[in-house]
């Protein structure tokens, strides 16, 4: 598995309306890239275009892997909503994608991944008997089970409480190293914690933003993290203020 860099250029439209004007960026190979921006700006549409999922927005331009092989078969995705099967246990939820493809599931590997995310002994638990944080852990294990080079994270931690979120962020950072990860978030703190590079998405375009020089995952309470967070928040407010007005 070689994680590719992803190049995006063009503009994003919804019907006649322009969502994002001309942008061009390259998400580095095997690294975490964060796309920051307010809700409704079209971040999720960008992810869906990468994954070749049906999408209401239209792209005038190109999104492609730099090795020019198709991206969709190399994509795994994790959303804010855990998308677990309510009728299946944790282990069966981890292996569902393999079973959907008609492959023989590997229960040992799935159980090991559940143990990695801290859910050993919960293999037969159904989502209704798991907490929101535990459900997201199952979803993370399912994403990793897919073993894809490109991992798309669509605000996966935004519905969790602060402490659970920090734990999940560390877990995801550790388990997804070496893959091209695209993290969509509206939380500057999350981008500062996890990303190797980050961009702010607005209607005017997609602009890169500076991050602390240390390697992610950065400690949420460290002074450098907090300073960078404050600076980023300030910048986002400046950039987004005209839109809000």
């Amino acid at each position: 598995m070689i994680a590719p860099a992803i190049h995006m250029a063009g503009s994003l439209h919804a019907g006649e309306r322009c969502l994002i004007e001309a942008f061009e960026l390259t998400l580095p190979a095997g690294r975490w890239s964060a796309l920051l921006g307010p809700s409704g700006v079209g971040k999720t549409s960008l992810l869906r275009l990468i994954a070749a999922l049906p999408c209401a927005a239209r792209l005038d331009g190109r999104i492609a892997a730099q090795d020019s092989a198709a991206m969709a078969p190399r994509v795994a995705m994790m959303a804010q909503d855990d998308q677990l099967l309510p009728w299946a246990g944790a282990l069966d939820n981890v292996t569902i994608c393999a079973r959907l493809r008609g492959e023989r599931p590997q229960p040992e590997r799935a159980a090991a991944l559940l143990a990695d995310v801290g859910l050993a002994g919960h293999e037969t638990r159904k989502p209704s008997h798991l907490s929101a944080g535990q459900r997201q852990r199952v979803a993370l294990a399912r994403t990793i089970y897919e073993d894809r080079a490109i991992v798309l994270l669509d605000e996966p931690f935004s519905a969790l409480d602060a402490m659970t979120r920090h734990a999940m962020q560390d877990l995801a950072a550790g388990l997804l190293t070496g893959r091209t990860v695209i993290l969509i978030t509206h939380d500057p703190a999350e981008a500062i914690r996890l990303a190797d590079s980050a961009w702010i998405v607005t209607r005017a375009g997609i602009a890169p933003c500076p991050l602390p020089p240390t390697a992610p995952p950065r400690a949420p309470e460290a002074a450098t993290t907090l300073t960078a967070q404050a600076a980023l928040l300030h910048r986002m407010r400046l950039q987004l203020a005209p839109e809000a007005a």
């Binding site: 078969p73 959303a79 009728w87 299946a88 959907l100 493809r101 989502p127």
Partner: protein, 252 residues
């Protein structure tokens, strides 16, 4: 478990006793002749005296109902699955189904009896026809309403239509099947009655018509009670199935 069953029984007994008391009161206070409204005592006597006759007719109606339901459910499930699996089948069959549904299945009972005679086949076909549509349409609606997140998951996994249907759509559609079954449990006994009223030589509906014609009102009520018992046991079976499966599949 036993305590719950006892409580359920108690809850069922109270309205039953109240109904019987009101019934008796109306009969004794108004003095209506017994061929218009027999009292509960008379009806109980009729039930007891004609137990063999009622049992025989109940058995006939119940086996028609059972066979008709099995056929209606099997065909309904099959149709829903076929429609969910194949775009072409949807294109071809959907308008036909809508048209067929516009014809009230009950209205077909005389035609079916004309074609298939007074015996079991015409009753079974009527019951199957009446239960087929609610099952097919309730199940099909749920099969087609897979949540967007699971649709994405299936697409990203590269699942084919067949596996997606079996692994995602079908378990998701179980509540649809259950609401179809609930409708079938209501319409089924109605279809039994109508089939037998249109023309039959046996069955509880037939017994009701016969005893009515002979002025044996108590026997008519006894047959009505047997028919209610049949519907009630069907309803209990569907409720039990629904409770079991929603626990098993973690819906609700």
């Amino acid at each position: 478990m036993i305590a719950r069953a006892a409580r359920g029984l108690w809850r069922a007994t109270v309205p039953l006793l109240v109904t019987l008391a009101v019934w008796q009161a109306v009969v004794s206070l108004s003095g209506v002749p017994r061929f218009i409204l027999p009292g509960p005592g008379l009806v109980a006597r009729a039930l007891w005296d004609n137990a063999g006759l009622i049992w025989q007719n109940t058995l006939w109606s119940a086996s028609n109902l059972g066979l008709g339901l099995v056929i209606g459910i099997a065909l309904g499930v099959e149709t829903a699955l076929l429609l969910a699996l194949s775009r072409r089948a949807r294109w071809l069959l959907r308008p036909m189904l809508v048209l067929a549904q516009a014809v009230p299945a009950f209205a077909l009972a005389p035609v079916i009896t004309l074609w298939l005679g007074y015996g079991m086949p015409s009753k079974i076909v009527t019951i199957a026809l009446v239960t087929y549509f609610p099952i097919a349409s309730a199940l099909f609606d749920r099969l087609m309403s897979l949540p967007a997140g699971l649709r994405d998951l299936s697409r990203l996994s590269g699942a084919g239509r067949w596996r997606e249907t079996v692994l995602l759509r079908l378990p998701h559609a179980v509540p649809g099947l259950l609401s179809g079954l609930r409708l079938a449990a209501v319409y089924g006994p109605l279809a039994v009655l109508i089939g037998e009223w249109v023309g039959a030589s046996q069955g509880l509906g037939h017994l009701m018509l016969m005893s009515n014609g002979r002025g044996q009102t108590a026997l008519m009520f006894a047959a009505l009670i047997a028919l209610s018992g049949l519907s009630l046991s069907l309803w209990i079976a569907v409720e039990a199935l629904s409770r079991w499966s929603s626990k098993r599949l973690s819906f609700a």
